[in-house]
Symmetry: C2
Subunit: 247 residues, 2 copies
Amino acid sequence: MTDQRGGGHGRVRGRRGLPRGGLSPELIVTESLRLLDTEGVAGFSLPKLGRALGADPTAVYRHFASKDDLVLAVADRLNEEAGAGFTPSDCWVDTMTETARRVRATYLAHPAAASLSAYRTTQGPAEMRGIDILIGAVLAAGFEGAEAALVYRAVADFCLFWAGCEASFLALDERLQKNDQNAWTSAYLSVDRAGYPSIWQIRTELPEVRDDDIFETILSFVIAGLVQRAPRPCRCPRHAAAGAAAG
Amino acid sequence: MTDQRGGGHGRVRGRRGLPRGGLSPELIVTESLRLLDTEGVAGFSLPKLGRALGADPTAVYRHFASKDDLVLAVADRLNEEAGAGFTPSDCWVDTMTETARRVRATYLAHPAAASLSAYRTTQGPAEMRGIDILIGAVLAAGFEGAEAALVYRAVADFCLFWAGCEASFLALDERLQKNDQNAWTSAYLSVDRAGYPSIWQIRTELPEVRDDDIFETILSFVIAGLVQRAPRPCRCPRHAAAGAAAG
DNA sequence: ACCTGAACACCGTTCAAGT
DNA sequence: ACCTGAACACCGTTCAAGT
């Protein structure tokens, strides 16, 4: 069982050749995420991954059938991170809000990984648990049958799509992101008043909008729409008033 | 000015070598879109594009500095298609709804192109006009200043993100999409009742949900949230009731 | 039985050499 | 001045050859 290779102490990854059997799917996924976080999508290739693991450029193919299979495993890791320690609230509104915020926080923490794996279905346990929690909230809101399925898909896709696109944008090259920033800070500031009167009217406010606020705004709209349509409004102290007003 | 090359009659693209000057940015963008529509993202490379145009594999570089520049030009073409013939309604709710539906319809008609160019800023005239129309609707709803900027960004990003992600999914390989379909048609159907009770409860309804209905559902939530928060509700016959109820 | 690494058919992009 | 196409440094993936 013991041997004299490497430095031991659980530090498996090393600069020199890895012992046979030293590679595992878990280790490869961990290194993939590290590589994606530090080098971005452009720095994530199977040859680079093999070399970063101190192994052959083609070594990963002994554990994953293709790069896409590896991407799905990374997606599963993100699902686990997003769901870690999450217990649904008694209040279905809070459960939905928290789900959306958790998905977004995880994706924004790993933009490159998220840009590759967002809106992919892994059918892993973490994903299934997240789905069950979200459907549970939809059922708690009083939706049933086909309508519950529809509302669940709408809310789930909203969370994944929004977080996925925000992450994809952050995963672009710095240079390309700059181009977008310039649109807000300079191009729209000097917009032609006659041609684009509405842009002109809020041209100084447009560059000041923050991403977190945009997300919370659209989330509040979605939740408000849901509360209005839900057969069983939340009875929380915070939400009871809104539910009564809409009912 | 005239010459004896080619068949004339405005049909510039041919199988054999193109006359010098025969390539233009417009023609390259048109062929890019055709290539993306028929072959998908995998079939869209600059060498292939050059060959499809009957020119050198590196010919595109004489008209675009990089592949990314070409992608932005394709994005502009999609913007033009989405905005073609669009005149905003007197009713701001209808204007927003129509904007969201148009963006989605265009992206779904060109999923591969949309998957490459969604949420990119081109600052082209079509994009600027779309922005002006949407901000106009936000102002018509009574939002002002910083709040108007925030609400505009929320609605605009919602349209782009949603349509972009739906398109990106459709742009995946057929094989990968199948994997997702299987999740709904078989995996969730035979889900463990004890482990995932909420999924189990609507397991037969989940596979029946249609993408169009999902989109209309989330859109209705967003609009309902907007109407509720808007300082100036729409007075249309259709929307007056909802505005009054929320006010 | 498992691992290696040479090799294949591509990429995006550059640039010396031509016309 | 403009265009060409060889060439570079990569990809994802395969597979004969080794151990």
